[in-house]
């Protein structure tokens, strides 16, 4: 079995210091892996990332994160990534990481993702350059996700996103903003390859649980949704089905 802790949208600033540390230290007993689904900072400055880096520094559990839209707001996404990686966290953008656990391996494919909406009500690669750029950015995100997910050789495959691949975990948000919260292209890439779990954030007013059209579990772990420091999930395996 593989025990996963996951949270997104922690939106750290100086006033967040020590808000999660005690619960994070408890992960040593309860989880094999911690996933953070983007929006690490409030408005995308490296100083805010430094506070989160302090919070995560020295944790025993392997931690993997992606960036979110807030982390890009001030053009410091590279600095934010560097600061977070300095605390030992793997930050992924169109990349994967295979984590060796005691008796199993888990591969995490991570990317921010982007919007565009869902099949039947989505943006199209057509029209003005700005519209085409919007759609093509999500297509590029989905294409890289498909590629890095395919490259994973591990007992379990997990996808870590900021944007949502499905509508189901957006229920509660206004319908009009669904195109800014995710894209079916992300689910299509995941279903083309297969995965055991998808974790995302971004939709603070959404709901936790969904499925891709191909049947992959999707969990919206934005902190305002789960109302917890993190949520805990357990993936059973053929050899160890009991969690």
């Amino acid at each position: 079995m593989i025990r996963i802790a996951a949270v997104g949208d922690v939106h750290f600033g100086e006033d967040s210091r020590a808000s999660m540390r005690a619960d994070l230290e408890a992960l040593e007993e309860s989880a094999d892996l911690l996933l953070i689904a983007g929006d690490l900072t409030r408005h995308g400055v490296a100083d805010e990332a430094a506070v989160l880096a302090d919070e995560l520094d020295g944790l025993e559990v392997p931690t993997v994160a992606v960036l979110g839209n807030h982390d890009y707001h001030c053009g410091q996404e590279k600095e934010i990534r560097d600061v977070i990686e300095g605390s030992g966290v793997h930050v992924l953008e169109g990349e994967h990481e295979v984590i060796e656990l005691d008796g199993a391996t888990v591969g995490v494919a991570g990317t921010k993702g982007f919007g565009g909406g869902f099949a039947g009500a989505c943006a199209t690669d057509f029209g003005e350059p700005e519209m085409k750029a919007f759609v093509r950015h999500t297509q590029a995100q989905a294409d890289s996700l498909r590629e890095v997910l395919s490259d994973i050789e591990a007992d379990a495959r997990i996808v870590l996103l900021h944007y949502s691949p499905v509508e189901a975990t957006l229920v509660g948000e206004r319908l009009e903003i669904y195109p800014f919260l995710g894209s079916y292209l992300l689910a299509e890439a995941i279903d083309d390859v297969g995965a055991d779990l998808v974790v995302h954030g971004h939709a603070h007013n959404g709901k936790e649980k969904g499925l891709t059209p191909g049947g992959v579990h999707v969990r919206n772990v934005a902190q305002p949704v789960i109302q917890r420091t993190y949520n805990l999930y357990c993936l059973g395996s053929d050899d160890d089905p009991v969690c």
Partner: protein
């Protein structure tokens, strides 16, 4: 010419997103007559106060009813088993 409530509400939403003291996209805003109503959830009391301050700067002639709440985080008390 008075600003239509719809546009003032949107100006406030945009201001709450862009002002680095707040940087929140999820605060709900409604403007009725000379009142601005705010709902939503933020992580700390400091951020709630910042929402209040920024809105008063954006709408100085309006009364602000700030019903934004501060989220309370708890550790998980269960594990979901995924097959």
């Amino acid at each position: 010419m008075a600003t239509q409530p719809t546009y003032l509400a949107q100006k406030i939403r945009a201001g709450l997103a862009k002002d680095p003291r707040v940087a929140e996209l999820g605060i709900q805003v409604e403007v009725k007559e000379d009142l601005v109503f705010l709902w939503g959830e933020v992580a700390t009391e400091t951020r709630r106060d910042a929402v209040d301050q920024v809105v008063r700067e954006l709408a100085p002639d309006f009364e602000v009813r700030n019903e934004v709440t501060v989220e309370e985080l708890r550790a998980p008390n269960s594990v979901e088993e995924l097959s």
